[in-house]
């Protein structure tokens, strides 16, 4: 199984992508590199990967272990993991075989939120909520926050629209003590095509879709072509929902958006009666896209909680454990206070 580790040309230690600097850096000798510099260093290797025959990759797909090229230990990975760390020497490792052929991503949005920022977001969120158990935002808990590139399908679609309907524009005005209502009825026609880009669906079943909906949206205009070095220092996963499986979901979204866009264009009318609304999806291009997220999973009171931060925008979402004892105490206090205030008020004021 072919793996890739980006190493510092100066000292040989691992190079990781640093979101805050938007550069690649070595933690040992503090050297920094741009994407172009990394690409130049690893040019020869990139060509190697491209030359690999298809059957070789398929065979290797079944393997779920690799030998760390830094310490030599055998490391077992999940069958969808494409970027990880060696368990023993913590060297960042990219399993490049799983990023080739149909699994070669087209696009990505690199991290702009680094670990410190994600931890800060988490702390702001938890400390703002007074009933979170204290042990919950301990520093050992915070260390577990993980930066992950998650696989998505992005579709660019072209839709043909043929819409007809009738609608009213109503004007109301006053003159003296009379009120006038003028109802103008219109025939509405909308024909043409709509291009909808970056229609997004998660291509991965191992994480809650709901959680990721909570940190949407990403700014699609910042997306770039996939570049492997950006995975260094982060986890990354391969899609496990295929293009064929995702198409119906994409089409459903496209129809919904098309209807919204048509409604936008006829929003001046009231009481619309649609007589014809044919939308036809003419073409769709799917892009395999990796999007960044910080994920923190934690156990409290026998229950698993998840927290996520959008790795590009910093938007966060998740569920918090609750200190029931403390909450109950405060609620009892409110009960006592309200009741006493009302009883006294009833006797003295009203």
């Amino acid at each position: 199984m072919s793996i890739r580790s980006y190493k510092c040309p100066n000292c040989g230690a691992a190079i990781e992508f640093k979101p805050a600097k938007q550069k690649f850096a070595c933690d040992y000798c503090l050297s920094e590199y741009t994407e172009q510099e990394i690409a130049d260093i690893y040019k020869d290797l990139e060509e190697d990967v491209k030359e690999k025959p298809e059957d070789n990759i398929k065979e290797l797909d079944h393997l779920a272990s690799y030998d760390c090229n830094s310490c030599g230990a055998t490391v077992v990975t999940d069958d969808t993991t494409t970027s990880t760390f060696c368990y023993y020497c913590h060297n960042p490792v990219i399993i490049s075989d799983r990023l080739s052929g149909s699994f070669l991503p087209n696009k990505m949005i690199p991290f702009t939120i680094d670990k410190e920022k994600a931890q800060e977001t988490f702390l702001n969120w938890t400390t703002k909520n007074k009933f979170v158990p204290k042990e919950f935002y301990s520093s050992s808990q915070l260390e577990k926050i993980t930066g992950m590139y998650l696989p998505y399908w992005w579709a660019d679609c072209e839709v043909n629209v043929d819409y007809k309907g009738e609608g009213n524009i109503v004007k109301v005005w006053k003159e003296g003590d009379m009120e006038y209502t003028e109802t103008n009825k219109y025939n509405i026609v909308r024909k043409g095509n709509i291009q909808i880009n970056n229609v997004e669906e998660l291509a991965f079943t191992k994480i809650s879709n709901e959680l990721l909906d909570g940190i949407a949206p990403y700014d699609e205009s910042q997306a770039m072509n996939f570049s492997m070095p950006y995975l260094s220092g982060f986890f990354a996963e391969q899609y496990n929902i295929s293009e064929e499986e995702i198409v119906p979901k994409i089409e459903e979204q496209v129809r919904k958006y098309t209807n919204s866009l048509i409604n936008d264009s006829v929003s001046e009318f009231k009481d619309i009666n649609e007589t014809n609304n044919k939308t036809e999806i003419l073409s769709k291009t799917l892009n395999y896209t990796l999007l960044p997220a910080w994920i923190l999973t934690y156990q409290y009171d026998g229950k698993t909680y998840v927290f996520a931060v959008n790795g590009q925008t910093g938007k966060s979402f998740g569920e918090l454990p609750i200190n029931n004892k403390k909450l109950f105490g405060v609620a009892a206090g409110i009960f006592a206070f309200t009741s006493i205030a009302l009883v006294l008020g009833g006797m003295l004021i009203w």
């Binding site: 109802t183 026609v189 024909k191 866009l261 569920e319 609620a331 409110i334 309200t338 009302l342 004021i349």
Partner: protein, 271 residues
Amino acid sequence: MVNINRKLVSSLIIIMMLIFVLNPIIAKGEALRVFDDAYLFTEEEIKILSEEASNISSSYDMDIIIVTTDDANGKSARDFGDDYFDNNGFGLGPNLDGILFLIDMDNREVYISTSGDGVRYLTDERSENVIEEALDSGLGEGDYYGGAMGFLSGTKKHLQMGIPSDQYSQDESVKKENSLTFMEGIMSLITGLLASAGFFFGTKSKYKMKSPVKAVNFRENSIVNFTKEDNKLIDTVLTNKKIAKPSSDSGKSTTHESASGKTHGGKGAKF
């Protein structure tokens, strides 16, 4: 001994004579109508006011009383007026019909207290009119006699007009005492329970992961290119209607209970 008896007899005679001299007012069969405890009127003015009040009183079987005071005994003008009416046994007929006009120098307030049919004649709106007339006739500028005359003429005018056809009486329903019933206690507890339960479950649900509605920038990611975008006017309908006026509440008489438990109406104003 004889001397003392003589003195006693002569003083008795003097007392008897004094009573006899003061009697004519009572002897004439006329009840007192003006009680000028604040000394705002001259004797002449009291006479005119009394006569006018008596005239109105006998024409409409309605006790018309004018009271001034410079010490309301710590009461509000309303309570003072109501109590004055009740405690002095004013009011004619079984319903104790009557209208009392009070100039309260202590509270600097003018107040009309009505009772029996007086409540029905002087609705809230009419009472306010009468008070306005009294204030306009000089009360506002310190001419108390003018104000009292204004009250009499305003009252007379409204008595002439009769009871409004849409008159109705409604108690302002004030609680007499600040006591707490058992039900109110229970209600306080329930409200307290609701408030705390609201907080408890509200906080609980706030901490729960809500099913998010996925925010999508599809508008920024789309280009709409209509080759045909047509709105053709096919029909116009014009309708009109009269704007309804808000209904008035001119027939309402608000009533309340005085300390003696009798029902009074009335209105007042500061001056």
